[in-house]
């Protein structure tokens, strides 16, 4: 099964997470709010998607985790590893390819 590489799409949550963390380290709850905020409500990433994704990303060594305590609450800050940056580069390119591809089909279809 190779590595779910050339999938048509999928993996958007992973892409969002990696992309945000490329800018600075963030914690889960903050990532969820940021996605909603930056995309102006176009995208919402649920916690049932986010946390498992973060754990998977960490165990795949794409993210590094740092536990801290703020105001009595636990926060886990995540940052990109080198492998994470490579993965981000690949996923971004995949996304652009698919995005352009879909646009080309939509264009064809609509103007007839």
């Amino acid at each position: 099964m190779a590595d779910r590489n050339s999938a048509l799409m999928s993996g958007v949550p992973e892409l969002l997470v990696l992309s945000l963390l490329a800018g600075r380290e963030m914690y889960g709850y903050e990532i969820a709010r940021s996605v909603k905020l930056i995309s102006r409500d176009a995208l919402v990433i649920g916690e049932g998607v986010l946390y498992p994704a973060l754990h998977a990303l960490e165990s795949r060594r794409l993210l590094r985790a740092k536990r801290t305590r703020v105001d009595g609450r636990t926060r886990i800050y995540y940052s990109l590893t080198v492998r994470g940056r490579a993965r981000l580069a690949k996923l971004s390119e995949d996304w652009r390819r698919v995005s352009r591809g879909v646009a080309s089909i939509l264009g064809e279809g609509s103007h007839g």
Copy 2:
């Protein structure tokens, strides 16, 4: 559970099929080749994805099927129903929303 409506993404094959059929009626094999051709190899829709998708779309009354015989081979031409057009409109809008959303996150991340 509602109708897999507000999904983050997914459903790209369905979108492609509906979009192509909005232009003119086509048969399965032709759709597969067209996707590859129009997208300049950016997108490839396998037959294991395409045919089940076409059947599902037909049973949901989004497509209409018309069996014909050409040169001794069977072709099944599909065309959009009214419901299919409505579905296409919705999926296109969803796609544009997600696409813009992802772009906004990628933009933030890369120059941040």
